[in-house]
Symmetry: C2
Amino acid sequence: MKIGLLIIATEVLEGKIQDINTKNLALFLKKFHLEIYTSLVVRDIESEIQRGYSELLDLCDVVVTSGGLGPTKDDLTKKVLGDFLQTKMELSQEAMEVAQSNYKKFEREFPGKDHGYSYLPLGVKPLSNSTGFAPGLWTLVGAKLILGAPGVPREFVSMLYDHLAPYIKKHHLNNEYTGDVIIRTRGVPEEKIFGQVDIELWDKLEKFGSVSSLPQMQGVDVGVKIRASSEATFNTKKNQILNIIKSSPINEFIWHSGPEGLEEVIVKKSIEKKLKFGFAESATGGLCAHRITSVPGASQVFNGSIVSYVDSVKKNCLGVGEVSQFGAVSEQVAIKMAEGAYKGLGVDVAISITGLAGPGDDGKNPVGTVWIGWHTSKDCGAKTLRFYGDRERLKDQFSQYALFTLLEKIQN
Amino acid sequence: MKIGLLIIATEVLEGKIQDINTKNLALFLKKFHLEIYTSLVVRDIESEIQRGYSELLDLCDVVVTSGGLGPTKDDLTKKVLGDFLQTKMELSQEAMEVAQSNYKKFEREFPGKDHGYSYLPLGVKPLSNSTGFAPGLWTLVGAKLILGAPGVPREFVSMLYDHLAPYIKKHHLNNEYTGDVIIRTRGVPEEKIFGQVDIELWDKLEKFGSVSSLPQMQGVDVGVKIRASSEATFNTKKNQILNIIKSSPINEFIWHSGPEGLEEVIVKKSIEKKLKFGFAESATGGLCAHRITSVPGASQVFNGSIVSYVDSVKKNCLGVGEVSQFGAVSEQVAIKMAEGAYKGLGVDVAISITGLAGPGDDGKNPVGTVWIGWHTSKDCGAKTLRFYGDRERLKDQFSQYALFTLLEKIQN
């Protein structure tokens, strides 16, 4: 089953918002061992939406559209679908009832039959919306399906689960168990992995499925896509791959095997080891805490973070009196911040971050400099590194470096 | 000048990473009063990349590609471009030199002429990469340009500025000054804005340019795209629009006119009013601090945040001893947390957040409940609201509600 995504959103092409429905659809399809075949973003212009319908319907068995279903004049999806199907827009009793029940759910009164939601192209079915007001669209073109969902991510996702899931279950008779084995490396560029560290690795892995190499912020993820006939076969192949990796020189660069992110690995390992941790954050400004608290269950191991953005807070909340002596971005201050967090938060492992995310520097260190401190029941210390990029990228990289330090301390 | 984006990235279609180069290209083009015409994501499969080249070259004057330029076997962009142009891949002295200088910049040794970076389809020019190793691609097809950039966002962006910017300046003789007037509302759904609050508004605004209505997390953004012959004409039209808004009943729902986000507005107003602020965060887990510290200059007004994820930290760092009596998610605890932050951080305005982001609840309140507390030199208090969604969405909404509360306190 080939599935295409048509995103109808001038605002995405103008950079006003970031599309996340491609990711939403991909993660939804993964549950059925399916993938998006291609995805297209078009402007809210009739001819462009037409082009989108026509191209994707040529290529795919199912076309999911995102956006353009709202009540305002710039919402054209429904009208253009009518033109595309060469049918007329009509007052639809069914559409009115679906819209009415969408409103009722939120204890709001439906504005009545004159409302745009009451109209649909002839032959198009309205879809209930369990998280919003706008009805979705459903129409078969020959053996192919067009499903129109609102662009609001929450509504888009709920419409997939409510309406596309049953269709896939019925029509996609899948005997395949598809999945990825992901090997997450750190500290080695991709050309070195395959050109120097283990030159036979790619070919060895390719025997199990298609291999990919994906440079991410924290390092290179090597993936192998396995198509198996059952979960058991999948797991056998997966174990064979993991054995190859274990006996390869690449093994020393691997920090995790699996799709989990760094935050999830940290929370999981901390729970296993019954360790509590926390941060003293300056340059990351709360990002380390935010990343950790995005993981369900973080409260079992994460006590808190003192975001000390100015010197007075470093002094009052962390007991760091050395700022004027050494400068905020220094080894001494990083160590004292970690000590302050260790004591104040009552944790087993405290990590501190002090650095310069820019745009201005401190007259001593260049923008991009960071010190990461740690204080555990075993030892304390600090290390430094310089990164490059804008403020957002530097915060990301500082937090990544801090979380890797935390992971090391938790593992040892 | 019509510009199309071809994203060559199976990993985006599988949901492994989120594309941000559409936004990167859009924001780059905005500086030249240009927009992306359409954007297409294809899998790393030769026939799909071919389709992408051919479709976008049909539609656009400039095709920018993202991805598939790395050194591993799954990087096919260059090979397919050669096939598409019906030319052969050859060892290129120029490509080798560009790659060499890319390596030299990072004080790394270029692996030599056998390296994939040394090969290019005949007639394709290599582009220097100021932030990475992989050279870009540049080729003219008739009067149309194909520019191939790496998918790594930092490298993608630097290649736009280094190579596409000069081309646009030379070939895009723009006499237009295009820009958006953005009116940011809150607390009113889009159909009410145009169907109830001011039913003539859409038509009035449309006289100035194309109108859009974009529901965002915090409320509906109404946009008017103005095409003017100069900045002066643009500003005249902008002021006329703002006057229409001021005399419209919609005015009471507007929290800002302009493209700035809530964080930026808060930092700007705090600087104007010379106010310092900070947070005591529980349920948002550092997100409020992270959002504020994403704004350059935040350190002038933001002192810090006490992320108190567990009760012991609420007690030790914020002096909140009432948790066991009232429960962590309560009016009393929200007020005491704000007081603790006000004193501990030494600020003029302190905002606290305590709520349930799930998945588990506390046996008293449903998931989605949040209390926002405040403590200023003038008053203190707390208010509550219930939101819906998953953990990520709830954290986002809690932080949005907290930041709006902060903005109100700063303005009063």
